[in-house]
Symmetry: D2
Subunit: 415 residues, 4 copies
């Protein structure tokens, strides 16, 4: 039944995704927005909302700039009204005065977005709208206030509790698989045959979060290799010629690629939840899995080495590992957080630096960003909370004894 | 695939709906809330949220009053902060100043609710929480401010665009059907056999809205009879002995019962959308359907007649119809809206008063509230917008010539 | 997608389950059958088949007797043709001669049944037809040859490889659950509340086999209690007041009821496969389960005791157990197989007699058939093949040392 | 629920598709077959069947020839037993004598195939086995008797009533779509982008029949273009640059490609049923569709023209059409049936020759087989039975007046 309902919602979304006929009243998109905000009921709201979304979709960048300018200038807050209603609420804190304050202190563009979102399928279009906004904001910083309102609403709508985890496999719909190809951001997927190698064998898995209102659009996905022992080379993981093992025989799950899919959801974080739910689900399905690690790039290593004058092109694998360990454990930004962005993500999630490998990603990109080195971050459920808390409160970086030793060795030999 | 995902979300919801182990830190629910609001990331947020929901569920009414009092007093807005951040934003309207204002002007209990809602399955528990709040507010009006925040969030989460329409049939899961029995609010369903008569025959339909995060909980449902001609008696509609017709032979869809299911969603309206989507879907499935009407109670008639001294117990069916028409077209509340609540709902949706019938609901309840009279409201898609606008702007009540004539006759004979 | 296809097949089955218009040619059902067998292609075959099934459904018992008589007399084999084609094949064993022999040696009624089965939904009607046949055969043994052909075809169509195992739960469609109520043959289900207690709690399970062409009709189902330790009383299992345990805490699965649903499939056995697949699936889902036993009636005990003069109404629980053990291990039919039909089924499957309990089924029926005694048959996957082979070859009954000892004690005390 | 069951059956099929451990008894595949046929119950049958299928899969062609030779020689009928049991049945036609005859007259390899088919997933392997057999039979005609038994069983199992029609779209699983690419036999699909153009736009449809035991294997599929007016060029239909129309605006459904997928099901016909069910389903979904035609190749035209010395390479489009019409209406095989195989198929289904087009398939293959001409066969539901009957009884070819006139013109001008 749920399946049917999902289908219906999809069919419905399509059926209503184009207004059956254009608005013939000659009103501008801004006038339509005002009409929608003024609309007393739901009767004509859905049609108005549909027209506004259609009209927006037809705008060029100039038109979009104008529209966002309108949202900035006309649908913001009225400071005077905020002050007045706040004073009234302070004087007599009742339901009525609080309601007036709530109305005044929220920008009208939030209510506009909620009313646009009544239309089935609109959520995805609002995400696209924010993607436009983020792009146009770069040259128009005054639009940033609109983005804050968008982000506030989207964070509420894309709350973890509303997301659904789906396995992605060779049985998944082609329309979703082609998006996996398109959105893969770490280790490119060249074509459908390469995709198949990542999702079809029983020792390869992929999982994505979806929002029920965007059933064909993954929000974020992770690719997992089930292995015996911890993988130390992404080329081995992706090799055409590798031996496929039985899922039941694996003892380790290696998260070798995580990609965010929706630029319009920038700043709304799904990765931590995704990894942890996949760890939980795989543990349950395959009790033989004992170790959950990533096989991650070290994107800042070369740059940092170059900035700090510590790049030594011809060092041995051992030295490369020492240098990578040293970098991961000691290289910091101005605010004290790790220099490496991927490290910040996994350490913030409560993972620890488990192992480093030289010659682990010998692609052009891998060599360029880290001289081919990669790192395993370990998700050990029994340590995650403690790691996270120490990291959050004191920026302490958890690491295995081996990595700590490598980093020390690096300091001694002044890598 | 969607089906699987739905199932997963259900299974997941159950698996995580009880915290695997209680919070052993000895903190109060209020301290747990502060911890959740302070939590820097998602790592321990999910577990904290789970503990708070568990703790809440175990509270008695006194405990709940205390909890809502805490939300009122401690997690509201800080007026001084609102003023300061507002002034800063007015002085320099930047992203940073606006972010500060947004933070200050929203009660912290909204963020608390959003964080609680991270837990799969939490949405339903938050709806239950509001149900408690609405009940306890009756004796504690100061809690109403909390309710405004709850309602604001729930209206955003239960936005029309997120709802899914599902047909309810004898193929539906028993766990949903038992809720249809429980929630039916207009014409009671005594047992499973009566339910079957309402959902299994091909000329009986039922549709409900669901939210993806509460897949086993209908939000609102409507029961429909497919008939030849407009039904004029609900006992005929529900009769065990009636002849079942082929759906393809029906020319009329009669909406004879609409029930809201979730007290915790009071004030968030789904009925208008539900009726209109069902009209759209049935039209498409069964092109033979030409007329979409309700068969509705007139719950205020007897009371109004008694208040206005116009009740004449022994009048003829003709006189009853005149009186009902007169009531529906002329009886008003102080604010000028129709006296009858069901009339307000359908007229507000853009329906018109199509026909009135005496002896149409001869149940004890039907006789008590309207002397047995019922009314058909007609949903004519070509007139809905116009009807709605006239009603919204001038409180004009649209009615068929027959009903208008009956109402006039009533005035002449001074019923 | 599969879900949709299933639905479609259901919808399709319904849409075409009534011929859109009756056959107006005035032909008898027998003439229609001859036309269908003569039909050169599929073009009119589907319509003819539909008419024949409709016509059959409208027959009374006399008409059905006539129809089956026609199948017996007119659509059997032509012995002369068998002989001729056989001789030709022997003389020149070619494709052509073998094809002729195949055609001659199969009764034409088999081809008729296959052509009837072209109609979506027909399979269930053919099963119903055999149910009629089995009933009418009792007074008309000459029809038995028709039944052999029916059974041959149905055994091929209801091959284990085509069956689908589905869990039955409180989320199952009402139209299936009402059949579980109707078909329960061991421990009656009085109403929907009792049903709910058997399928909703997490320590109660139910599984059924379905055939894809009869998606709303269970073929056989088994009810399972997940327990700590082996259950010794069916009243305890079914008690309203029992404590529900977590499925993960159970160490034992007790199969306390198995019911065949389709009389028209009599003689086509599903029980053995069902039990073994449920054992396999539950083992996988709940690794904590270590023991799989039945809690079975001993339906022949009282009758046998009465026949052998060994019934002693007032004996102690200990004596009752001894007597039951003695009966199960030694009471035989003329052919050497166990006297007890339930014992024959489970021992034939490779189970062993694990334990006997007095006062285990104190319902009127339980007391009448076995003085309240019940038995656990143990399905130990490591012993099943060996048990089965010894039973099949030498009628050896496998039993636990405890039961063996009880049976010996019974003999000593000459129960 | 059905969806789940489908998934389960898939999962189950995979889980059991490899025997968990090999048969270690050292028996030959023939000995295993004898053991399976002798097996008294289901207990060890499933495991034996699994081992036989595994063993077969590992055979090379010589081994397979040996296996089929065993089926031919050892598992056929025993003529003497047929004669004896037939005589006994003639003498005393009872259930027992008929059962004995049934047993003797059916080759034991049929029972073997049924027992192999107990294993989930085995059906597809048996289809593959027959594919091998058809190939090896070419050089070993004595194996044809085995094929007749296989075909008999498969025709019963792949009965129309067991097949499920599924739409194939861009939402279909990749594992099914890749088979559409592989199995397309008429107008090649070069890659995933071309596939997408055939299944994603709303004016392009694809439908396939599936068997529930082979849920990822289409049996036959048809590709449909929804158009305004009848399409006269397949390159236009497949063009990248064509305009997509709304499905609701189409008045014609053009079946431009039909492909059988399973060589192992050769001789078991699905095409007629497929076309007619698709016509029925599309009619219902899109009431605007008034015309259902094919756009078919004329594969025998060039060969026939060459054989009859009537090929005139440089004739005009008009002359080409005349010649094609003449060919379709008059060229016959020795048995009086149309010379053209595609014509035989559609005319046998009750279609009529509606129109012929020159320059309709200008691919290398199209030019080679028919000089680029194509034909529309019209499926007019009101004429199908009549057309079919006239064709079946008198080999009358139904054609439109236009095509008849073209054919006549061809004869006059002695094309």
């Amino acid at each position: 039944m749920s399946r049917l309902s999902d289908l219906m919602s999809t069919v419905f979304a399509r059926r209503y995704s184009r207004a059956t006929e254009p608005d013939r009243t000659g009103r501008s998109i801004e006038e339509l927005c005002e009409a929608l905000l003024g609309s007393s009921g739901e009767v004509s709201g859905m049609i108005l909302a549909r027209h506004i979304l259609d009209r927006y979709a037809a705008l060029d960048d100039n038109g979009k700039r104008g529209f966002f300018g309108f949202l900035t200038a006309q649908l913001g807050i009225d400071a005077e009204a905020v002050r007045t209603t706040l004073a009234a609420f302070e004087a007599t804190p009742t339901k009525a005065t609080y309601r007036a304050f709530l109305g005044a202190s929220e920008a009208r563009r939030q209510e506009l977005a909620r009313r646009l979102n009544q239309v089935p399928g609109a959520t995805g279009q609002l995400v696209e709208m924010r993607k436009d906004l983020l792009r146009l904001m770069r040259d128009a910083p005054e639009l940033a206030v609109v983005d804050l309102d968008f982000r506030h609403l989207l964070a509420s709508w894309f709350n973890r509790g509303f997301l659904v985890l789906r396995p992605i496999s060779w049985e998944s719909p082609a329309e979703i698989l082609e998006k996996i190809i398109a959105y893969e951001a770490v280790h490119e997927i060249g074509n459908w045959q390469e995709l198949r190698r990542r999702v079809q064998p029983e020792d390869r898995r992929c999982f994505a979060f979806f929002h029920p209102s965007m059933p064909s659009e993954p929000l974020i996905f992770v690719e997992v290799a089930l292995t015996r022992g911890v993988a130390s080379s992404v080329q081995n993981v992706l090799s055409e010629k590798r031996d496929i093992i039985r899922a039941d025989d694996a003892d380790t799950a290696v998260f070798y690629s995580i990609s965010n899919c929706q630029e319009g959801l920038a700043g709304i974080s799904f990765g931590n939840s995704l990894i942890k739910q996949v760890v939980a689900d795989l543990s349950r399905e395959l009790p033989g899995l004992k170790t959950f690690v990533t096989l991650s790039p070290i994107p800042g290593l070369t740059r940092w080495a170059s900035e700090t004058g510590s790049d030594l092109p011809d060092n041995s694998p051992e030295q490369q590992c020492q240098r990578a360990a040293h970098y991961l454990l000691t290289a910091k930004r101005g605010d004290g957080a790790p220099y490496d962005p991927v490290a910040r993500f996994h350490l913030g999630n409560g993972a620890l630096v488990h192992a480093v490998h030289a010659e682990a990603d010998v692609s052009a990109n891998g060599l360029a960003q880290s001289g081919g080195a990669m790192v395993n971050y370990l998700y050990d459920l029994s340590l995650i909370t403690q790691n996270h808390e120490r990291y959050a409160s004191k920026q302490t970086i958890a690491a295995s004894p081996e990595v700590t030793a490598l980093a020390r060795a690096a300091q001694k030999t002044a890598v």
